[in-house]
Symmetry: C2
Subunit: 329 residues, 2 copies
C-alpha cells in the first residue's frame, strides 16, 4: 500500500489532533511538522518525524502529499494558505465566514498558478455542518434551518474574557437552550433570537484582590460577545479551573424543519448532531479523511481551490467504489 | 431559466411524492408520466402533463432530461432500469441491498453503451443514511455504527401480515427501542441483537369469524420477519384502520460512536436522524434534488452508473458555487 504523506504546519491542539488521527488510518503517515517556534523545542507524540522551521517549508515541498495548516483564521491563514499553496497541496480550516469568498479567490489563484490542489474551510463548522445545511436545504426547499452550537468552548469568547481587567484565567462555554431545540424539533419553525437559542457560561479565576462584581458586570455587558445573551459568570479557584476545564468538548446540531406535500402541510425533519469529547481531535480526524480525497484528486490531476461542497464523498474512504456499494450503500 | 424536465415511470405513492417535490423547485417541471395502467385511468395532481403507456416510453425519450423510476425492487427495477437507461438518464431507488452490485453492473453497462447517466439506490436508505455511514465511518475509523429505523411502516412486513389467513387488512410499524438508542448514545458501543434494537407493532383488521389467536400466533412466529423480534399484534376495526393508519410516517437514526486521541479514549459521536411525516413525499424530494445534479453532470458529458457516493454535493443545489460559499459554508 502506498502511504499518504501528511505534513502539518503549526503544532498546537489541532496539530496534535491531526497527528493522533493519522495513527488511526493505516494508509497515512506523518512525515513533517513545520513550526514558528524553535524546532528543537517541539516534542511530538510520534517518534522519528522531523520538525522544521516554517520558513524552511518550501525546501521540504517534496516530503508531503498534503500539508495541513493549523494557524489562526484572523492573521495566519489569510497569508499562509495562499503562500504555501505555491509549494504544497494544502488544507486549512479557515473559519471567518465573512471572508471566505476573498480567501477562496486568493487560494484558488495561487494553487492554480502552481498546479496544486487546495481545500479551505474544512472541519465541522465550517465543514460537516455546512455540508448538512446544503443537503438538507436542497432536499427540503420549503423550510427553515437552525444551527445550535455546544455545549462547547468558544475560543473567541474565552479570549475576550481574558482581556478583562482582574481576570487571571477564563473560559466560556456556549450552551444551546433546550427549549429552543424542542420548539424547532416539533416543527413550529419559530423565529428565534440569539438570546433564545444560546446561553453563555463563563468560568473565571480572578487575580488576587480583584473586584469580582466589576469583572462580572464588564463581561455581561460586553458588546457583541455577551450583551445579546443570558450570561452566567462563576468565579472558581485555579485548581478547579485546571481540573474541570482543560478538556475541549464541543458539538451542536443542524436541524432542517421542512414541509412537503399537497398544500405543504407534511412535516419533515432532518437533523445532524455532533457530540465531541475533544474538538481538536475530531477536527483533526475530519481533515485527515479529506487529505485522502485530496491525494486521489491530485493523482487525477485536479488543481485549484475546492470546498467540502465540491468533493465526491467516495474519495474520502479508503474503500473502493465497489466495496462501498457492497458494504455501505 | 432553463427548466429541468422530469418524467416519472409509475404513478403510485412515490410517483406522487416526486410530482409534489417538483412543484417546490422553481427550476423543475414534470413533463411526462409513464404507467403500466391504462393512461386514461391515471389522474395526476398537475394539469396538462401527458400520461403515456410505459411501453411507449422510448418514443418520448426527448421529452425529459431525467426519468425517475418508481417500480419495485423485487421485480420491476432489475429489468426497467437497464432497459430504460438505453433511452433516458435514469434514477431509481433500488433497495435490495444484496443485489446492488449486480444491479449496478447491469445499469452501468446499459447507460455507458447508450451514452446516458444513471443513479441507482437513491432515497434515504439506501441513500442519505448510506452517505452518513460513509462520512462518519471514514472520519471516525475506530468505532461502531448503528442504524435504527422508525417509527415507520415497513412495506415488506405489512405485505407478510396480509398473506396470513383471516387477515383482511394489516400494517406493521418498525419501532426503535429507546433503551438501545440511549446505550449507543452514551458511547458504550454495545453489541445489540435484532430484538434489542427494534420491536414490531402490527395492526390487523380480521375477516369476520377469523381465529384471532391463530392469526396472532402465526404472525409472531413468522420466520425472519417476526420471530427474532418482540412483536405486538392489535386487532382493530376497519374504520380505525382507515382513520389512524393511512399516513406513511418513517424515519430513523444513523449513529457513529467512535474513539480518538492518545490511547483512543476520547468519545466522539456523529448522529444523523430523519423524522418524516411522509416517507414517499420525502423520498420524492431526495430524488428531485439528485435529478438536478444529474442534469448538471450530463451537461458535462458524464455517462454510466453512479451512486450517492460519487456525486459532488454542490451539484444538488440550485445555487452557484460562489453563492454556496457565501451563504452556506
Amino acid at each position: 500500500m502506498e502511504m499518504i504523506k501528511i505534513a502539518v504546519a503549526g503544532y498546537g491542539n489541532l496539530g496534535r489532533g491531526i497527528e493522533l488521527a493519522v495513527r488511526q488510518n493505516e494508509d497515512m503517515e506523518l512525515t513533517a511538522v513545520f513550526t514558528r517556534r524553535d524546532p528543537k523545542s517541539v516534542k511530538l507524540l510520534t517518534e522519528g518525524v522531523p520538525v522544521y522551521s516554517l520558513d524552511d517549508a518550501p525546501k521540504h515541498k517534496d516530503e508531503a502529499d498534503v500539508l495541513i495548516l493549523c494557524g489562526g483564521s484572523a492573521n495566519d491563514l489569510p497569508v499562509q494558505t495562499p503562500e504555501l499553496a505555491r509549494y504544497f497541496n494544502v488544507i486549512d480550516s479557515f473559519d471567518t465566514h465573512a471572508r471566505i469568498p476573498e480567501h477562496f479567490a486568493n487560494v484558488d489563484k495561487a494553487s492554480k498558478e502552481s498546479g496544486h490542489l487546495a481545500f479551505i474551510s474544512l472541519g465541522w463548522d465550517p465543514g460537516l455542518f455546512s455540508l448538512n445545511r446544503l443537503y438538507a436545504e436542497t432536499i427540503l426547499p420549503k423550510g427553515k434551518s437552525y444551527t445550535f452550537w455546544g455545549k462547547g468552548v468558544s475560543q473567541g469568547h474565552s479570549d475576550a474574557i481574558r482581556r478583562v481587567k482582574g481576570v487571571k484565567r477564563g473560559i466560556q462555554y456556549t450552551c444551546p437552550i433546550d427549549d429552543a431545540i424542542e420548539q424547532v424539533r416539533n416543527g413550529s419553525q419559530p423565529d428565534l433570537t440569539a438570546r433564545q437559542m444560546h446561553k453563555r457560561e463563563c468560568f473565571v479565576v480572578a487575580e488576587e484582590g480583584a473586584d469580582k462584581a466589576a469583572i462580572e458586570n464588564e463581561i455581561k455587558s460586553m458588546k457583541n460577545y455577551f450583551d445579546r445573551y443570558d450570561t452566567s459568570v462563576s468565579f472558581i479557584t485555579e485548581e478547579e479551573f485546571e481540573r474541570e476545564h482543560s478538556a475541549m468538548p464541543h458539538g451542536g446540531f443542524v436541524i432542517r424543519s421542512g414541509l412537503t406535500g399537497d398544500n405543504e402541510q407534511t412535516p419533515q425533519r432532518i437533523e445532524y448532531s455532533l457530540t465531541l469529547g475533544s474538538n481538536p481531535e475530531f477536527t483533526g480526524s475530519v481533515l485527515i479523511a479529506f487529505a485522502r480525497a485530496m491525494k486521489r484528486l491530485t493523482d487525477m490531476g485536479q488543481t485549484g481551490c475546492k470546498t467540502i461542497f465540491d468533493i465526491p464523498p467516495a474519495y474520502l474512504s479508503p474503500l473502493s467504489g465497489q466495496q462501498l456499494r457492497e458494504l455501505m450503500l
